[in-house]
């Protein structure tokens, strides 16, 4: 069965039919072509699909698209404004918080949620907020530095 959902994705209004069992991850990647949000595991274990729903971090692989009716969804593609990188995107780039880049969208979205609620996080806060995002390239060292740099950026 399909149902109609109306929501905002990265600030743009959408009106789409989605299957009852369809995941937000599939909706974003396949219906909207927003492939920035990644599938890294078989469900709920890696954080690569982290998006914001009404400003809160959520795993798109564990969220039904149908549950997003009436909500505000933000993905990595919505971070840059007018093409200008957000402070987090800039910092991840300059500080090498990203190597292969596969965990990066989910990592940035989780960090974005953190900085919105805690603009000057301690290192422990950063670790806590990103605890559900796996990275296999960096050892997390430069990821922490990137979030700190973004928090300190003007």
């Amino acid at each position: 069965m399909k149902r109609l959902i109306e929501l905002a994705v990265n600030g743009r209004r959408r009106s789409d039919a989605v299957g009852d069992g369809s995941l937000l991850l599939e909706y974003l990647r396949e219906t909207l072509g927003l492939t920035g949000t990644k599938r890294g595991c078989d469900g709920g274990e890696c954080g690569a699909c982290t998006v914001l729903i009404d400003g809160e971090p959520a795993l798109a692989c564990l969220t039904l698209a149908a549950r997003c009716d009436g909500r505000v969804v933000e993905t990595i593609e919505g971070c840059a404004t007018g093409g200008r990188l957000s402070r987090l995107q800039q910092a991840f780039h300059e500080k090498l918080g990203t190597q292969c880049g596969f965990c990066t969208p989910g990592m940035i979205m989780a960090a974005e949620a953190l900085l919105r609620s805690n603009p000057a996080p301690a290192e422990a806060d950063i670790r806590q907020a990103l605890g559900g995002n796996l990275c296999r390239c960096t050892g997390y060292v430069k990821i922490i530095e990137a979030v700190q740099a973004a928090a300190e950026a003007p």
């Binding site: 890696c46 190597q99 796996l134 960096t138």
Partner: protein, 757 residues
């Protein structure tokens, strides 16, 4: 230098942080059929019967294939082709591909799998090397009746005399769990077969698009010129994707059978079962040492459980012995290695290939013996340093050796002398050294071609396109190559575009493995940059009516030396193009013969044009109540010859150390007695999270290798192996527990603490 040596963000970093980077599963493929693979539910058996008729009849099914559709055995090593993309006659590990389907959608594909009937006759399952080697064990492969894929027996120097001359001789056994690469991107392939033209395009997650290209041609019995292989962004490799993988050939076969495009996306569990990682290993090691700490003799036996197929197996068992040498002086070495088949997913190369477990055993025994002789761990290393240039007994040539400086840096940075003796119970500081090759001097396919080729293209717009087959898998190779070429040309990095790994456009490259790219492809990029520079200088000289030797290039100006006559880069470009149109130059690199090693059987593994070195100290705190070990700090110095991009060097060294931590602390695969994997997901396979991960301070040591590009050597692998022994030595200091088995999980440590009391 203007470009090289700077902290340089990756040239494709913006694509990654904006989500614009497209990995294989992100490629536009709405038109593609969905591929799914039927996998063996048993770990060892004969295929008695496969019936696909009902699957074929299901509406929406476009193709169904089995082992009958490809009778070509393949494998990464020319001497070891024993794998088929779809099992023929036998299955040898749980999850091995038996049949595959292409259908209009995922639901139909999965329904079709259910309709394929397979009958197996079970055979005994061997999930340990010991079981596979036992008398009476059923051979996995007919040509290896005792399940030994390869036996190695190397002896250098007089080992018996060495032990006789020693003041102390000790022998210990060590065992290491199998681990997995666990790169974040699951496996995926997108194959498009153009029926009208008889041409195949493959896009996949490979570190080695060239080898994939060759294998596809073989397995599909196609002319290689009818195949195009493109590597999109890749989400990590670490050795997982260093050979053609079954799903790549399956996707191509399905695409041809279906007459269109097929997208084959593997789950995380299936990706774990593709495997190709570090094998379960047992080591017996014996060292002879003088009172001074000097090693007199080394004897090692290694048994690797290689899994069901050959893959790189012969190379892995050779590396375990070969890299005993070239870190310290090794006056006498006897090495025996056994690579054994078993009914587990095939193993392969993983960061540090073959050398990691051996390095833990060696550094650990070295430390213990040093302790018996009241020698500090740093002192015993310093008693065994070699001096470059040095040729080891197994013909490895060391031309630059920054290990002494690495040791000094780590000793200072960690506060070893000041702090170690005063650490309280429960807290410990350990150290270790490690090293690795900068590419294997002997390529997998010996064709007589250069080891690497890079093309540079210059056209009317003044931009420079660097064309390379080298696969950037996140290590920053494209950035590094552009930096090297920019440095040679004296132009800014922003003038460069890098196009990589598209067989229709880029010169072939052997691939991203054994850390060859910086050294070998870097040298080719340097040569190409220098050649293009010659053309621009020559054109400027002609325009300025002087001899090329009178032109100096600085900040994109071509000036007559000692005068103020100059032309701009743009004018030089116009002048160069006026001669014969758009310019394309080629730069190559070939490993000099004297660096290619010796002639004995197996000598091809180990030699490299450059060896990197690392030393590290690890500080831990142990909770004796729970057995949990917290890694508090790591200080690591890596001699990479010259850091072309110090930012990337730091990132790679940190990642390597951390990956070693994963192996030391908790990562392991595990199988039931009948060969089912138990840890094929990210909850049970314990990749450390940010909560578990320590600060890692990196010191870069630059020994300026005479053969590396701008003096550079590899920076991505050496530091991994040193973490494991530094960690267990720190734990030994903290709570007096000796670790001969990895990973050191909390329950194992608790058990040891209990027994110690």
């Amino acid at each position: 230098m203007r470009v090289a040596g700077r902290h340089q963000p990756l040239i494709d970093g913006i694509e990654k942080v904006t989500g614009r980077a497209r990995y294989t599963a992100d490629l536009q493929a709405a038109h593609a059929f969905v591929g799914e693979v039927l996998r063996s539910p048993i770990a060892h058996g004969e295929i008695v019967r496969i019936d696909t008729a009902r699957a074929r009849a299901l509406p929406g099914v476009r193709a169904v294939i089995t082992g009958d559709d490809c009778d070509v055995a393949y494998g990464i090593l020319p001497i070891a082709h024993n794998e088929y993309p779809l099992a023929r006659g036998k299955v040898r590990y749980w999850g091995e591909a038996v049949a595959a389907v292409a259908a209009d959608d995922a639901a139909t594909a999965r329904a079709a799998l259910e309709l394929i009937e397979v009958e197996y006759r079970r055979l005994p399952v061997y999930t340990s090397a010991e079981a596979a080697l036992a008398p009476g064990a059923v051979p996995l492969h007919a040509d290896k009746p005792n399940n030994i894929e390869r036996e190695v027996d190397h002896s250098f120097g007089d080992v018996d005399a060495g032990f006789a001359a020693a003041d102390l001789v000790r022998e210990e056994r060590f065992s290491y769990a199998e681990v997995a690469h666990a790169q974040l991107e699951p496996d995926c392939a997108l194959a498009e077969y153009d029926v009208a033209r008889g041409m195949l395009t493959m896009q996949s997650v490979s570190q080695v698009p060239y080898y994939v290209h060759l294998t596809l041609a073989q397995c599909l019995k196609m002319d290689p010129s009818a195949i195009r292989v493109i590597k999109p962004f890749v989400g990590g490799g670490f050795g997982h994707r260093t050979e053609t993988l079954p799903f790549e050939v399956i996707a191509a076969l399905l695409a041809r059978a279906a007459g269109g495009a097929v997208k084959l996306v593997l789950s995380r569990e299936q990706t774990f079962v593709v495997h190709r990682a570090r094998p379960e290993t047992g080591i017996r090691l014996r060292l002879g040492m003088k009172k001074s700490g000097e090693i007199t003799a080394i004897e090692a036996e290694v048994v690797q459980r290689g899994g069901a197929y050959a893959g790189y197996g012969i190379v892995t068992i050779l590396y375990a012995g070969a890299l005993i040498h070239a870190l310290y002086r090794a006056p006498a070495v006897r090495y025996r290695g056994l690579r054994v088949y078993a009914n587990t997913p095939p193993c392969g190369p993983m960061r540090g290939h073959g050398s990691v477990d051996m390095r833990h055993a060696f550094e650990t025994l070295l430390d213990r013996m040093a302790g018996e002789l009241a020698l500090d761990p740093f002192a015993v290393r310093r008693a065994n340093l070699l001096e470059a240039p040095h040729r080891t007994l197994n013909d490895l040539q060391v031309n630059s050796y920054g290990l002494p400086a690495c040791l000094d840096w780590v000793e200072r940075a960690s506060g070893w002398k000041e702090r170690r003796a005063g650490l309280p119970r429960g807290r410990g500081l350990g150290m270790a050294c490690s090293h690795y090759v900068s590419g294997a001097a002997k390529p997998v396919h010996w064709t007589g071609e250069p080891h690497a080729t890079v093309n540079l293209r210059l056209d009317f717009d003044g931009s420079i396109t660097l064309l390379t087959g080298a696969a950037d898998i996140g290590q920053g190779s494209s950035t590094l190559l552009a930096m090297v070429a920019a440095e040679a040309l004296g132009v800014g990095l922003q003038r460069f575009r890098v196009i990589a790994a598209d067989s229709a456009l880029t010169p072939k490259d052997n691939g991203s493995y054994s850390s060859r790219v910086s050294f070998m492809v870097g040298n080719a990029a340097l040569a190409a940059g220098q050649e293009l520079q010659r053309r621009l200088v020559a054109a400027a000289a002609r325009r300025l009516e002087v001899h090329p030797g009178d032109i100096e290039c600085d900040a994109e100006r071509y000036r007559v030396t000692g005068s103020d006559r100059w032309i701009s880069y743009a004018e030089a470009v116009r002048a160069a193009l006026a001669e014969g149109g758009p310019v394309t130059v080629s730069g190559t690199y070939t490993v000099p013969p004297e660096l290619q090693g010796g002639k004995f059987r197996g000598a091809g593994v180990g030699p490299s044009p450059g060896f990197s070195y690392a030393a590290q100290a690890v500080e831990v705190s142990v909770d004796e109540g729970t057995g949990e070990v917290r890694v508090e700090n790591v200080w690591v110095a890596h001699d990479c010859g010259f850091a072309i991009n110090p930012l990337a060097v730091e990132g790679q060294v940190q990642g390597a150390v951390w990956m070693g931590m994963g192996q030391a602390c908790g990562e392991r695969t595990q199988f039931t007695d009948d060969g089912r994997p138990l840890r094929a997901n990210f909850l049970d396979y314990a990749v450390p999270t940010i909560m578990d991960s320590p600060p890692v301070l990196v010191g870069i040591v630059e020994s300026r290798d005479p053969n590396g590009p701008l003096g550079a050597k590899e920076a991505s692998e050496a530091a991994l192996a040193g973490f494991l022994p530094a960690f267990t030595s720190a734990v030994a200091q903290a709570v007096g527990v000796r670790t001969n088995e990895l990973p050191l999980t909390a329950d194992r440590l608790l058990h040891a603490l209990t027994w110690n009391r």
